[in-house]
Amino acid sequence: MEAYLGIDVGSVTTKFAVLNGSDELVAHIYLLTQGKPIDMVQQGLKQIKQQLPKDVDICGVATTGSARYLAGVIVGADLVKNEITSHAVGALHYFPQGQTIIEIGGQDSKIIIIRDGIVADFGMNTVCAAGTGSFLDHQALRLNISIEEFSQRALDSTTPVRIAGRCTVFAESDMIHKQQMGHRTVDILYGLCQALVRNYLNNVGLGKDIQPPIIFQGGVAFNQGIVKALQEELGTEVIVPPHHEVMGAIGAALLVHEEIADSHNGSKFKGFGISEIKYHTSSFECKACPNQCEIAQLSVNGQVLARWGGRCDLWERSPTS
């Protein structure tokens, strides 16, 4: 069976998606990165292999997400693509008529404006993580409830409290204040959802022409409270597509299919066997100039596979020297 593999290694989760020759999703998995992107890529490959038929032939592999270069070297990617393009291509595959894509992940959030089936504008959050999944994770931890429970209970709110969502630090003190005042937990939970949505729309969505149909994807789209708050704030329906959490990986797989079809080259995929290899990462400070760049390197059995992290391409150019 002809198949294309997309791997999305994000800051919080790692996603795998396998498409067949006619771009249908045949397998997907969703793992927590836990700060160990290499282990998770290896584990994910092992797990997804079990979901696939014996005669599978991986014709192309693409990586995306913040660890896309690292993952690309490990699996032998044919294409390394940024997450904005991957998410847009994935969403448009399922909803060609979509005009706005809202994607909220663990550490970043994006808005992609689509016109005539093509990306016309996009925005990404700046360094602040107040409008992302980790904000919710953090506050759920403070309230001592699981993130799954958060999603369900937020819907029970009748009189949500207003929480300042500009900054996680202020949101936290605001939240504690509201708790001390005796507000119900469910109202605080939904207040947090509204705070995140407000912050997202005022920060990432600022000046963007948000038109329906709106597609909402990424891990945070699991949260029913956020979906409800988004719909209220935008005053229109928000579509959460199936497999929204692996949409970046699906997009990457679609892109590599297109790329392989255009170039007629064979795949550089190193095979499922790489999940057994012991990878070693290390770093050092480059002494070539006063910039003192931290160079990270990936090696197997003492042989360096790749180096990156420099301000110039001195180390990237010659990984073997």
Binding site: N82, T85, P290
Partner: protein, 335 residues
Amino acid sequence: MIKVGIPRALLYYQYYPMWKTFFEGLGAEVVVSPPTTQAILSSGSSRVVADTCLPVKVFCGHVLALVGECDYIFIPAIRSVKSKICNCSKFLGLPDMTKAVIPESPPILDIDIDINKGKHELYQAIYKLGRRFTWNPFKVRQASIAAWQAHLKYKQLMSNHGLTPSQAIERISNTTEVEPKTPSGNPTPNQATIAVIGHPYLLYDAHINYRLIHRLEQAHYKVLTPEMLTTEELELAITRLIGGAYWTYEEEMVGAGGHYLESGTDGVIGIMAFGCGPDSLMMDIVHRWAARLRTTPFMSLTLEEHTAEAGVVTRLEAFLDMIHRKKRRRLKLCV
């Protein structure tokens, strides 16, 4: 021979040939600080007060790099270069601020440039600066005329020949004749063009912008910058967008942005510094204009000391993908 140090930061990129010619005409030797490195940036940002913007932090680092290398440091206070136009307060107080935060700096040669006060005041200021080197007013006059000619040649090399500031500076110091604009300077039919707008001290400092221009050229894009436009083109665009300039150096942002958004480039990237007041206002004007026109994709990047390279790279990749896919779709439709 007296050594005059010039920090390779802020207005260096606009006026270096002029300043160099002036001081050399007065018999001084000119020393320039090395290109920005992490060490220069860190040393600068460790001195300044908390709310200082990135370009000024870089500037202080360059002043520190010149300590011990020269007898004087030249830091002009440029108040206005055109009548009824304001400059950012950071530029107005630059010599005084440097004196306060870098007490070990060599004596500062400063000059108040304020066109609002009229030509007489300007000549007086130039003469006052020149008197530090010579008592002969004719020598000062000669040096300033030569300096102005060097400046005009520098501007012309960039606007008429499409050279970057560093290329133009090299050409001027080598005194080689320049051949007229070659066809190779123009984009080939299928080559996409990207205009990068912003102040030259952000555009041409490869350290603080993460080699943005280099990255674009590596991806085979033809890069256009504000310096490649003539003063007339820039002023025309400003008039169209906002009627008239308010800030000094507004043409680099609003003028160039307005021009490139309507001149058929495939995309425009605006670069601004975090914490810069005028930049945030000017970039917003360009942003709104781009949103109104909806013809040319526009993206703005904010640079900061702590900007992660990944953030710049991801946005740039996504922006270029957007342009590439758009262009490919158009080509397919034509076929």
